[in-house]
């Protein structure tokens, strides 16, 4: 009567197998290329060796640049993130809720848009800010965005939102009584922060740091737009240059990418050491109502910090792009005849862009919808099922996080170009690519949602005799719905803004928007590119608003 092999197990391992194929199949090709020392034109390789890795030693500057920029950007992102998280979750600053929502906007605006805007603002000669500086009698330039710190600044602003999200969640999940206990004993507020709060949040912040650092290592758009003018290369832009030429240095590029695995693993190891040695179990998934600090008049100072952040990360970039897009040649003090609507006219007429935009929206919809199912099942499998081997699956699923998407795209390209079903150069390939590279993001997000829900709620349905499918439909999914909707939107946005993987995998019939904007930046004027970026932002914003409204309505209907 009983079954050792339940349908649940079969489904679980089926999904795990799909994830393993998605990740490991391209990784195999990537590693194959990294160790290929034969004729690069012939695949499979004719000879293997370590030459590609030893030739990396020729590029100490690039490695150094990468670490430097990533580190600087991570530190800045953590500083902004912690400060904003503290202000918005722990103090009584006015408009906290609104600001918390708005903190996601820079992430949605994309690093590419940020880099384009800040390039217009901060170039030493033509930058608007420097133009104004000189107009007021300044000498030379006030800021130079084409420096490592400039690059890190833009990366921190536009890729660093994840730091805020993670740290804010951390601060919310900390039991305030832990701090209260310290204060009751008589410790000062500063002492409490130093000896209780900081040690408690340290592992969480370290975790966020590693996640953000990985993002920064793989960041491509910002270094591309802001680094190239001063020949400041990081690994991703160097790889991009290496594969742009003929004959391409694919093997070295693959080795460069593969060497990042080592960096990420070392960091993960260090992280686990910290977390295990500390064994901080006090921070649970449970949400407490955080005790808000009454900061008195200081709240207006904090409010202006929030406003300043939104100004440099949202209003200023968008305003700049809008201003530039209305000009023939973007300058800070344009004459009347320099204004034109031609850029928008041209942008709207560009067939490639039109199809790219609709392709992107279609893909994002598909990625988010399929992704929710796939990643939801995986998250459930890893964190709830207790099936043997789920730990290994977690490692496999998290693997793409350790590799820049540009590098991962190589593996994907070779893997699927030889695949017997002709999906190469189609939207299907991009869909597979997105589902693969967003596995860590999706699984992590959904796992966060799942872990917040008491396990006994599901078990109880099981004890009432409900089958797996029935309880998923009646208990698990309704409880997860708000979290799943948020995860769906996150995947949607992540897909629309994807650049690293798409730029290699686009085909003539499968163009998507972000790489098209990069190509436009390469090959048309910055004014037209600004117009394109604005159109993309507007269309995606509209799509998201529509989707949110629809999901709200559907959600409301099904609850009543």
């Amino acid at each position: 009567m009983g079954s050792w092999f339940s349908a649940q197990k079969v489904a679980g391992y089926g999904v795990a197998a799909i994830a393993a194929v998605l990740v490991l199949y391209p990784v195999y090709f990537l590693l194959q290329a990294a160790f290929d020392v034969g004729d690069p034109q012939i695949r499979p390789p004719t000879a293997y060796g370590l030459d590609n890795f030893s030739s990396l030693l020729q590029y100490p500057q690039i490695m150094l640049n990468t670490l430097m920029v990533s580190l600087a950007a991570t530190v800045m992102a953590l500083m902004f993130g912690s400060l904003m998280a503290w202000i918005l979750t722990r103090t009584n600053v006015p408009g906290r809720r609104l600001f918390e929502q708005l903190m996601a906007v820079p992430y949605y605006l994309t690093p590419l848009l940020g880099a384009l805007a800040w390039s217009l603002l901060g170039q030493p000669e033509s930058g608007f800010i420097n133009g104004i500086w000189r107009a007021f009698g300044g000498e030379g330039h006030l800021i130079d965005i084409n420096t490592p710190y400039g690059i890190a600044w833009v990366m921190a602003l536009f890729e660093g939102s994840v730091a805020f999200v993670m740290i804010a969640a951390l601060m919310k999940s900390m039991d305030p009584s832990l701090e209260e206990a310290s204060q009751v004993i008589g410790a000062s507020r500063i002492r409490t922060i130093m000896q209780i709060t900081l040690p408690l949040v340290t592992p969480g912040i370290l975790g966020a740091a590693i996640f953000v650092f990985a993002e920064m290592l793989g960041s491509f758009a910002v270094a591309l737009v802001l680094g190239l003018p001063t020949r400041y290369y990081v690994i991703t832009t160097a790889i991009y240059q290496m594969i742009q030429q003929y004959p391409p240095k694919i093997q070295v590029a693959a080795a460069m990418g593969a060497s990042l695995f080592a960096v990420m693993w070392a960091m993960l190891y260090a992280y686990r050491r910290v977390v295990i040695s500390g064994s901080y179990v006090t921070i649970t998934g449970k949400a407490f109502r955080p005790r808000l600090l009454d900061v008195g008049r200081l709240r207006y100072v904090l409010l202006s910090i929030c406003l300043l952040y939104l100004f440099v990360a949202v209003i200023l970039p968008l305003g700049t792009l809008f201003f530039a897009s209305l000009q023939k040649i973007a300058v800070v003090f344009p004459t009347a005849e320099n204004f034109t609507l031609d850029n928008f006219r041209t942008a709207m007429a560009m067939n490639a862009v039109r199809s790219a935009l609709s392709n992107s929206l279609l893909l994002a919809f598909g990625t988010a919808t399929i992704g929710i199912v796939l990643m939801g099942l995986l998250a459930w499998l890893i964190y709830r099922s207790r099936l043997p081997g789920s730990g290994l699956i977690e490692y496999i699923v998290m693997f793409p996080q350790a590799v820049p998407r540009l590098v991962f795209a190589f593996g994907l390209m070779w893997a699927w170009v030889v695949f017997p079903i002709p999906i190469y150069a189609t939207l299907w390939l991009l869909l597979i690519a997105y589902l693969t590279v967003f596995l860590p993001l999706g699984v992590r997000t959904i796992a966060g949602v799942i872990l917040q829900i008491d396990k006994s709620l599901e078990e109880c349905a099981q004890m009432c005799g409900a089958s797996w499918a029935f309880r998923a439909r009646t208990v698990t999914i309704p409880l997860l719905r708000p979290g799943l909707v948020a995860a769906w939107l996150l995947l949607f946005i992540a897909s629309v803004r994807e650049l690293g993987a798409s730029i290699l995998l686009m085909g003539p019939h499968s163009k998507v928007i972000t790489p098209s904007i990069v190509e436009s930046w390469f090959g048309t004027s910055s004014e037209l590119t600004a117009a394109l970026a604005l159109i993309q932002t507007l269309v995606v914003a509209l799509a998201i608003i529509v989707l949110v409204v629809v999901t709200r309505r559907v959600g409301a209907l099904s609850v009543d």
Partner: protein, 379 residues
């Protein structure tokens, strides 16, 4: 409510156990949680798994429920194996026909009270009017009828507990499992619910398996108790047996306060069926073996309530000693007296009386039948 629950056929001869657990082992990786547990639950019986946290009681319960997969052993319900490592049987939880009340209540926050309770009936595809009828009756039994339309988030802890209970029995399961259902309630409510639960269990006649770490709860509610420790069964028996005749120091100590006295056997002084024990300081105490074998080194257990304190020397020869009062702690219904017996410190509980000044010399006596010999080797 039906007198005989589904699935347990009425039988006049010695009934077959409703639940049988045999050689149950459960490892998390290499960490043992349950290391070989055996017990039976008879039809209509309430059996309690009692023990400190980490003793494996909840894991055992969850294994019976089907929420954990044991490493080895066999579990039978109505004689049919629902889990057997030897025969590779593992019936899924939802197919075992059991029901369970969770420690956290697990009231679904997205449903009303009515929907929560109706869930098990909907799963069983019961028709609408019948569902309404049954849910109403179940809510009636737990005095929650007027709350049917509320959402779970609008209920207090005690109300959630009642809903969880109604939800668990509404579809007439053959067995009810309770995982520390009262541990999240305050003391007064807990005491009330204890009686209500026991009452309900009797009325429904459902076989129940109950897990708790609370001694009073176990004694008050159980037909039989299984005391567990470190993944093993320490002792099985009725509440009275467990309380009066603990097997081991662990049970004696865990089940209410007991004085443990160690010494060596003086077989030469045994008489009248009593066993004589001499402590290291030469004090002699007579106790009863209750069929247990006395070794050369022994431990006896004496409940604090069975030590009698008096100003004058009581009549009788055996088990009467002069002792010195260390201190008396007033505890309301009784006083706890700490005293020196030779150089050993003992505790006695007496019904409230005039406090005796510290340092006074008094007499202590105990009936030999209250001095219980513990099984050797069971520490």
């Amino acid at each position: 409510m039906p007198a005989s629950p589904q699935g347990s056929p009425p039988s006049l001869s010695t009934p077959r156990p409703h639940i049988e657990v045999e050689g149950l082992e459960l490892y998390y990786g290499s960490v043992p949680a349950v290391r070989g547990v055996n017990f039976n639950v008879m039809p209509g019986e309430q059996l309690t798994l009692l023990g400190p946290s980490g003793c494996g009681k909840t894991t055992t319960l969850r294994a019976v429920a089907g929420l954990e997969q044991p490493t080895a052993g066999e579990i039978r319900i109505d004689g049919l194996p629902v889990f057997s490592s030897a025969r590779k049987i593992n019936v899924r939880a939802e197919k075992r026909g059991l029901s369970m009340v969770f420690q956290s209540y697990a009231i679904w926050p997205h449903m009303t009270v009515f929907d929560n309770v109706a869930y098990g009936l909907q799963v069983r595809k019961v028709g609408g009017p019948e569902i309404k009828d049954k849910v109403d009756r179940a809510l009636e039994m737990v005095q929650m009828r007027e709350f049917g339309g509320r959402r779970a988030s609008q209920l207090s802890g005690g109300q959630q507990q009642r809903v969880a209970l109604a939800r668990a029995f509404v579809f007439q399961p053959s067995v009810l499992l309770f995982d520390e259902p009262l541990s999240n309630l305050d003391a007064k409510l807990r005491a009330d619910m204890r009686i209500e639960l026991r009452d309900l269990q009797h009325r429904l006649g459902i076989t129940s398996l109950y897990v708790t770490h609370d001694l009073e709860e176990a004694l008050a509610m159980s037909d039989r108790i299984v005391v567990m420790r470190d993944g093993l069964v320490e002792q099985t028996g009725t509440p009275d047996e467990i309380y009066s005749l603990p097997h081991s120091e662990f049970v004696a100590d865990f089940i209410g306060s007991a004085n443990l006295i160690r010494g060596h056997h003086r077989p030469d002084l045994d008489c009248d069926g009593l066993t004589a024990l001499e402590t290291a300081t030469g004090q002699l105490i007579y106790g009863m073996a209750y069929g247990r074998k006395a070794g050369p080194e022994m431990t006896v257990s004496v409940r604090t309530v069975h030590l009698r304190i008096s100003q004058e020397r009581p009549a009788g020869e055996r088990n009467v000693w002069p002792v010195k009062i260390e201190k008396t702690v007033f505890q309301g219904d009784f006083s706890q007296i700490h005293l020196y017996w030779g150089d050993q410190r003992l505790v006695a509980r007496c019904a409230a009386m005039e406090p005796i000044a510290a340092g006074r010399d008094v007499y202590m006596a105990v009936e030999p039948r209250r001095v219980v010999l513990l099984s050797p080797g069971n520490r």
